[in-house]
């Protein structure tokens, strides 16, 4: 089924912003229904209460990516088993802003751009920390070298399979920021790191990574419990490196 494959390829690009993982990997896509040029994407979340703002971002992105297929004329997004299912499904299908659709969720902002940005930054820190730790502990690279290594040198560095994966993931995020600095490691704003502040910076990035991993463990676990899915055990490697 060629069309179905295409839709799933699009869905691979939709991320849970909080977890920094694709919906397809997280098990959030329940199923899809294709009728001619109309695609319905049925998706689910780990709890009935998952934050509507994040749910809205995912629903919007599903709509956006699937709509970009040239044969698709209509996309119906259907979030099931959620406290704001109706509001989200109708809002996204009609192209409304989050604030219009979910007026009851107090303090919700007009658009979700700032939230998206906040979580892009968090994902950047988390992936960067993994990359730096890998260089520190697997390659015995010095702090001095890490704060000065060029983007181009990091790309050509000989890494293990695991290291390559970490690098790909890091650059995927880093490239979104369009940094002008030639350095491989900068702050999300593109500022250089210094030897003096390196340890504090890394600790800060680690806390961000721990928060994201907490979400990842929790959300996956709750989804497994809710929909009776097979369990995925702690992957030491994802934490260890």
């Amino acid at each position: 089924m060629e069309k179905e494959k295409q839709v799933y390829q699009m869905l691979d690009q939709v991320y849970d912003p909080e977890l920094d993982q694709p919906l397809t990997e997280l098990g959030f896509i329940d199923h899809i229904v294709i009728e001619g040029s109309i695609v319905e994407v049925i998706f689910r979340l780990p709890t009935y209460w998952c934050s509507p703002n994040f749910a809205y971002i995912m629903a919007e992105d599903i709509h956006k990516y699937v709509s970009s297929l040239n044969w698709v004329e209509e996309v119906k997004v259907n979030l099931i088993d959620h406290c704001a299912s109706n509001e989200i499904n109708q809002g996204v299908t009609k192209g409304k802003a989050f604030s219009e659709s979910l007026t009851a969720f107090s303090g919700s902002d007009g658009d979700l751009d700032e939230l998206r940005k906040t979580f892009q930054i968090k994902a950047f820190y988390a992936r960067q920390e993994k990359m730096i730790k890998h260089l520190l502990y697997q390659l015995d690279m010095t702090k001095e070298k890490i704060v000065s290594i060029l983007h181009s040198d990091l790309i050509s560095l000989n890494l293990s399979k695991e290291g390559q994966l970490i690098r790909t993931k890091y650059f995927e995020k880093k490239n979104l920021f369009n940094h002008s600095s030639p350095l491989a490691f900068t702050t999300p704003e593109g500022e250089s790191l210094t030897i003096e502040s390196f340890s504090d910076y890394l600790l800060g990035a680690k806390r961000t990574r721990l928060s994201m991993e907490f979400n990842g463990h929790y959300c996956r676990g709750l989804l497994e419990a809710r929909y009776k899915l097979p369990s995925i055990k702690e992957q030491e490697s994802t934490i260890n490196n």
């Binding site: 709890t47 969720f105 107090s106 303090g107 902002d109």
Partner: protein, 340 residues
């Protein structure tokens, strides 16, 4: 009381328990069903298999089950009730002050019964808070900022009405403000688990203690930042705790971060019973050692003295409990023969 092989006794206060009613009879709507089902998913996902309850029991358990699980099987000397309203989901609410009181009367010196309030109840709620203080002598409250009320799906501690309620707490001597800042469960704002309102409240009310339940996870970085600045901010381990079983290394990372940032005097044990039974959490916590690399990275120390602080001494300080004097009081407790 947890007894070490060498006979040494560790005094334990479980700072976060509940006696809830999530039964079908009490559910007001689908939200009530979904709320308790979500708790049950937490329970089944993170408990060791041998501690998983049937759903029916989880919906509503009797008070004697709680006493057995928390004190007899669960090693605790004292436990603190942290009730929440959830009146939009449950006919009689999720927690019940009177049911808690009744149990506390039956088992003297075993319970601290905290209360709650909702600043969206306005003037009426302020009066109610005074009446409740009079009636129940609350020393603390549990605030559930993501609770629904009419059209509102949540509030913040920095809201003007919340400030009036906190002023009232100060005036009435309700010093310990436990705030749920946990995972998932409905947003207040763009960043659903934002802990920034704690920062604001903690600097406005330096004489109140703010215990951030679930240590702000999944916003550990924000929580650590705030708790480092504000000395009256504490971290409650409820919800983070069960990772000790399913994700031990991850738990070690979390606890070492907390020790590094906020220190050993401001971390409090809580089981979040009945989502998790305290017994296995405490056993595993006493057994655990930080892996060398994690210890080296943060310099964190989790020796027995630190564990004792986390398991009881830190909460005792917040609630003015003299542990040695309290041990004597508990000798006359009807549960004492279970430990002889």
């Amino acid at each position: 009381m947890y007894k070490l092989p060498n006979g040494e006794e560790i005094f334990i206060i479980d700072a976060h328990i509940a006696l809830w009613d999530g039964s079908k009879e009490n559910q007001l709507n689908i939200h009530g069903d979904q709320f308790i089902s979500c708790f049950y998913d937490y329970h089944t996902n993170l408990s060791p298999d041998e501690y998983i309850w049937p759903k029916e029991k989880f919906l509503k358990y009797d008070p004697e089950t709680l006493v057995k699980d928390v004190f007899i099987k669960g090693y605790s000397d004292i436990a603190i009730f942290q009730p929440v309203y959830l009146k939009e989901f449950y006919k009689n609410g999720f927690g019940d002050f009177d049911a808690n009181e009744e149990l506390a009367k039956k088992y003297k010196n075993r319970f601290i019964c905290n209360g709650t309030f909702d600043p969206r109840h306005g003037e009426r709620g302020l009066e109610q808070l005074e009446e409740n203080k009079e009636k129940y002598n609350w020393q603390g409250v549990k605030l559930y900022t993501a609770d629904w009320y009419g059209d509102s799906k949540g509030y913040k501690l920095s809201d003007p009405w919340a400030k009036r309620y906190l002023e009232k707490c100060l005036e009435l001597g309700i010093k310990n403000i436990h705030v749920h800042k946990g995972p998932t469960i409905t947003p207040l704002n763009r960043d659903a688990f934002d802990v920034a309102d704690i920062d604001d409240a903690a600097s406005t009310f330096p004489d109140l203690n703010f215990i951030v339940e679930h240590v702000g996870l999944p916003r550990l970085e924000d929580f650590c930042w705030i708790a480092t600045q504000e000395k009256n901010v504490y971290g409650g381990l409820a919800v983070a705790m069960p990772f000790i079983h399913s994700r031990p290394r991850y738990f070690a990372e979390i606890i070492s971060e907390l020790l590094y940032w906020i220190g050993e005097d401001r971390i409090l044990f809580g089981s979040d019973y009945a989502i998790w039974e305290p017994g296995w959490l405490i056993e595993k916590f006493i057994e655990m050692e930080l892996p060398d690399d994690i210890q080296k990275e943060t310099g964190a120390n989790l020796d027995l003295n630190v564990k004792k602080k986390i398991l009881g001494e830190n909460v005792a300080a917040l609630y003015n409990i003299d542990i040695e004097a309290h041990k004597k009081l508990l000798k006359d407790c009807s549960l004492a023969n279970h430990f002889a």
